[in-house]
């Protein structure tokens, strides 16, 4: 009997017992959809954390005041005022730090911005001309501040997309006046959207002024963060070392364990964040795998019922010349077809779920083609694995026992 004929026989048997087959498929379908969605949730979380971290800029080192060994929680404001604009200027010196491509010191404060009748409270950053490239941002409209505006502490401001919208500056914002804590600033540019929507902090709701201007307003020369950009991924460690050495020297510290600053690399943030996600994914994936196992046991159960119920049919087929191999293949094909149907339907449900569910929860679900194809293959494998026992029972049935049963 040809393979094609065997497949046809198997499909006919499934079609004959629609209800039962449907319920079996449902069991697998739920398992596969659960697997696809949990993996998708995990990948979605990883992807959004990665994009949030990447939105800080690429090949980034983040210098914050305070020692990491004191066990203090790293905060935006830092635990000590140890970093200054002067430190940042020294780090930009190519002789001591050849692997650092860009330096952007930064201060930040909440302030209320007023444009005409609109007002909006947001984070105002003070930084230097390199902020744009180090943080991986770009200008949508107008321009970034010039070295001259920087050195003259000009009252100029660049707005994020969201901030510009909230202030009603969507049309022709360049040249408009915005009051920041009652000091008038001229809008010279608007940033492009960062493209990272799910970051904890909205990267589009901000305003940036020259660091010199911020220092004048606050009267302080310390900075809260210095962003360093390494020349490439491969020189990240070298840049880290150069910055550490220079800052230790500038701060007059000989013992590196007593450092009054901390350098964090973007990649260490990513690995911390993803390891948390991975734990969650493994946990959820485990639950989904169990539901898949239950689906597989369902297949076995149904196939065993089917063998028992079809004892007469099997006996008759054997009496007419079906070999044990033919009977075994027919049942295996039935089982794997149920698996395939469950897998495909489960994949479809998973893909639909990935579109619909994010409308109700804040998480993103990213479905990968690899995981989907893998899940369908697993579903077929489950059909086969759990079909082997019932199929060999059917194959071993003595034709005479089968024909005698009424």
């Amino acid at each position: 009997m040809s393979f094609f004929e065997t497949v046809r026989s198997g499909l006919e048997a499934i079609a004959t017992h629609r209800m039962r087959s449907g319920l079996t498929v449902l069991g697998i379908l739920i398992g596969i959809a659960a697997v696809i969605l949990t993996v998708g949730l995990g990948e979605g979380a990883t992807a959004s954390v990665n994009s949030a971290i990447n939105s800080l800029g690429t090949n980034l080192l983040i210098v914050t005041p305070g020692s990491s060994s004191t066990g203090l929680v790293r905060g935006g404001a830092g635990s000590a005022d140890t970093l200054t604009y002067a430190n940042a200027q020294d780090l930009a010196n190519k002789k001591d730090c050849p692997d650092i491509a860009g330096v952007a010191p930064q201060v930040s404060a909440f302030a209320t911005l007023v444009a005409g009748s609109q007002n909006w409270t947001t984070t105002v950053y003070g930084s230097t001309t390199q902020w744009l490239s180090v943080r991986g941002r770009s200008i949508a409209e107008g321009s970034w501040f010039t070295p001259s505006q920087m050195s003259h502490a000009g009252n100029v401001v660049v707005l994020g997309q969201t901030t510009a919208q909230e202030l009603g500056l969507t049309f022709n914002p360049i040249g408009q006046t915005v009051n920041i804590d009652n000091v008038p600033f001229t809008v010279i540019g608007v940033l492009n959207s960062s493209g990272s929507s799910s970051s904890a902090q909205n990267q589009d709701d901000l305003a940036v002024v020259p660091l010199t201007t911020a220092e004048e307003v606050t009267g302080s020369t310390t900075v809260s963060t210095i962003y360093l950009q390494a020349k490439s991924q491969s020189t990240l460690d070298a840049a880290d070392q150069e910055a550490t050495n220079l800052l230790l020297q500038l701060h007059g510290i000989t013992n590196p364990t007593e450092a009054d600053f901390t350098i964090t690399s973007e990649s260490s943030l990513v690995s911390t964040a993803t390891s948390v996600d991975r734990t969650l994914t493994v946990l959820l994936g485990g639950i989904a795998a169990i539901s898949l196992l239950v689906g597989g046991i369902g297949v076995m159960n149904i196939m065993l019922v089917s063998v028992t119920e079809r004892v007469r049919e099997i006996g008759l087929r054997k009496a007419l010349g079906a070999t044990p191999g033919v009977i075994r293949r027919q049942f295996l094909i039935e089982a794997s077809t149920l698996g395939l149907a469950g897998g495909l339907a489960g994949a479809a449900l998973g893909i639909i779920g990935a579109e619909v569910i994010p409308h109700f929860i804040s998480n993103k679900i990213s479905i990968s083609g690899f995981a989907t194809v893998g899940a369908v293959i697993v579903a077929v494998a489950i059909g086969i694995i759990f079909g082997v026992y019932p199929a060999s029972r059917a194959a071993r049935l003595a034709p005479i026992e089968a024909l005698r049963s009424e």
């Binding site: 040809s2 007419l320 044990p324």
Partner: protein, 264 residues
Amino acid sequence: MVAPGPQANSSSSHTGAPGAPLITGPATGLAGRQRTERPVIEFQNVWKTYQSAEPVYALRGVSIKIYAGEYLSIIGPSGSGKSTFMHILGCLDTPTSGRYLLAGSDVSKMDEEALAEVRNRRIGFVFQQFHLLPSLSAWRNVELPLLYAGVGRQERRARAMSALEQVGLANRSSHHPNQLSGGQQQRVAVARALVTEPDVVLADEPTGNLDSHASADVLSMFADMHKAGRTVVLITHENDVAAAAERIMRFRDGKFVDAEETAA
């Protein structure tokens, strides 16, 4: 070999055999041409024991030779072991002891695959309960043996249709068994037994579930098969059904008790 029993003689009430029945052995009374040929089927002291709570000796030393082209009927009371005999004859079951030679080869030495092939190529079955698959139409039921013989779809359909035509059911080919009368279902089963053109057709109480009209139809088909040169073995407990055959063997308590020949 087989001793004549007084009951066997007194119970033979059919009218076909003039004079005293000949009871000297299975081959007795057959034409000389058959005696010189090798038998297509030969049982040598076959026993079959079922191991239930206490062992059931269903066959107690069956010996018989059946020659190609014979029309043999086996008659005996219910529970005498006729079906057990037919199952072994049809390679659906194996003897507990003794030898069974089919066309000269020893069936008890064959494996499952070989037995399946023998059933498929050499034997056609007709059962009392028809044993049609309810989910398949008449012609799909008839084509089943050809499917396992590896015959192509076109040819299967053509041969199934011609077998249905032989039993007069060509116009019912796409009906399902539940849309057919008992007699029609048994004719479909006969078509299924014919479709592979087997050497031997085995029928176990084929008329047991049929009215007299349908019984006559089915019996005439066996007569046609016999005329076409096939070996037909018909099992029954009704004398008038057995009378249709060329040779009648009586079965009682797990073995043959006598042999008769009708005036065919």
